[in-house]
Amino acid sequence: MCLGVPAKIVRKWGEGAITYAEVDLGGVTKEVIVATDEEVGVGDYVIVHAGIVISKISEDELEETLKLYKELSLEETS
């Protein structure tokens, strides 16, 4: 239950003030509530947690993680 998983948005629509989406959780699709104001659209990867989208996964993920790794290792060896 307390587990956030990456998922891809397949469909998105609004009903009243609530935005819904159908997401692909590694082959299984699920209807969820989009609980973020970030721009998310079909094809975007998001974190889904207990039936809601809590955050978009930014594309520069690898770059950012590598940046931190470099920061941590460069100064260490200097």
Partner: protein
């Protein structure tokens, strides 16, 4: 995934992430620079503990670096008397919606039936759902029945309830029992009150931080001088977080670092935070096996009283430890005081198939995680 031996698991990690050996080398190098100083790093989140245990990351740590599991299992700390109240309702014909994780959660000491699962076997009305949205749909379909949703979880699950409540998108025959718990208050409580647990570094929860924002953890550095790293859930994320904590220790500069940049922002999810605040009020709350923690729980605000199951059915908190089961050390495990293997019931009277205590019930519970990765654990011991 579980049950694999340590060597297989590590090989898998090293092949998938070629940078792993270099990160481990740096961890060892920094640990060596600290001399004999022991560094105890607490991972808050059950999912982090799963990554650490499942991939056998403890076996990669230098002797002076210890990884401790923290209080990041919301089901484990949910009061047993909520279960007691819901079991009664289920047997009286009110349908109880629960997350799968709380289905087998034990009620108070000596209760029969002892869980919603047992109540269902006796004919009680219980429905396991994936999300609150599924409960809303099901309650709509079963319009002639009365329904209650057992709302367990940290800040991450709160928007799931808050969005439909705020937008009044809930059928009239459905109410909510809010057992939500907040994460920064329990960390503060632990550091201020549980003095026997030494914490030199913290791996802060990634997805909770995606909601509340990583700035919410600034107090750990400011008030307690503890290096804190918000981390993702891949093994490499966790190793980088450990490396970052050690770097802070070597430099003597505790800081707050966001490793999970791809998901977590400084201020978090503004929409979710606003709606959570509109729907819930913060109250002092009881944590099972731990006690009352100031400003750590969330109840529905008065204007949403029509949706509040605690008001409709009179299910209220009873912070009297009557839900601490005889012999169960879940409360101590949750606070990082003891390891699951220190509990005489672990893998004897308490197993994943037949869980006795809450920490063995939930997939986020430390006992359950250790039990499901026994081969890794046993190699490390």
């Amino acid at each position: 995934m579980s049950g694999m031996d340590l060597k297989t698991r590590l090989r898998e990690l090293f092949v998938k992430n070629p940078e792993t050996p270099e990160i481990v080398r740096l961890i060892k190098e920094l640990a060596r620079r600290l001399g004999g100083e022991v560094v105890k790093i607490m991972d808050f989140c059950g999912t982090h503990e799963w990554t650490i245990t499942s991939y056998g990351l403890r076996s990669l740590m230098p002797e002076n670096v210890e990884l401790i599991a923290g209080p990041g299992c919301p089901v484990c700390v949910t009061p047993g008397h909520y279960v007691e109240g819901l079991v009664k309702l289920a047997l009286e014909g009110v349908n109880v919606f629960t997350y799968g994780d709380a289905f087998k959660l034990p009620s108070v000491k000596g209760a029969k039936p002892r869980s919603l699962a047992e109540a269902k076997m006796l004919g009680g009305k219980v429905t396991v759902v994936y999300s609150f949205l599924d409960a809303i749909k099901e309650a709509g379909r079963r319009g002639s029945e009365e329904h209650v949703f057992f709302a367990v979880g940290f800040e991450t699950t709160m928007p799931a309830v808050a969005e439909p409540v705020y937008n009044m998108a809930i059928p009239k025959n459905l109410t909510i029992l809010s057992a939500h718990r907040l994460t920064p208050p329990i960390m503060r409580y632990l550091l201020e009150n549980v003095r026997e647990v030494r914490v030199d570094g913290i791996i802060a929860p990634g997805h909770v931080s995606a909601v509340i924002g990583y700035k919410e953890w600034e107090f750990l550095v400011r008030d307690f001088n503890i290096p804190t790293v918000v981390s993702g859930f891949e093994p490499v994320d966790v190793l980088l977080a450990i490396l970052a904590v050690l770097k802070c220790k070597v430099e003597g500069k505790p800081s707050l670092i966001n490793e999970y940049v791809r998901v977590v922002k400084p201020d978090g999810n503004l929409r979710a935070k606003k709606i959570i605040n509109e729907v819930f009020k913060t109250v002092d709350s009881y944590w099972r096996g731990i006690g009352v923690v100031p400003s750590s729980g969330a109840l529905l605000r008065e204007r949403f009283a029509d949706f509040d199951a605690s008001l409709r059915y009179g299910i209220v908190e009873r912070p009297d430890f009557s839900d601490v089961l005889p012999g169960c050390r879940c409360g101590e495990v949750t606070l990082g005081k003891v390891k699951p293997t220190s509990c005489p019931l672990f893998m004897k009277a308490c197993t994943p198939e037949n869980p006795y205590g809450p920490c063995m019930v939930s997939s986020e519970g430390t006992c359950r995680i250790w039990a499901e990765n026994l081969h890794t654990i046993l190699t490390e011991l």
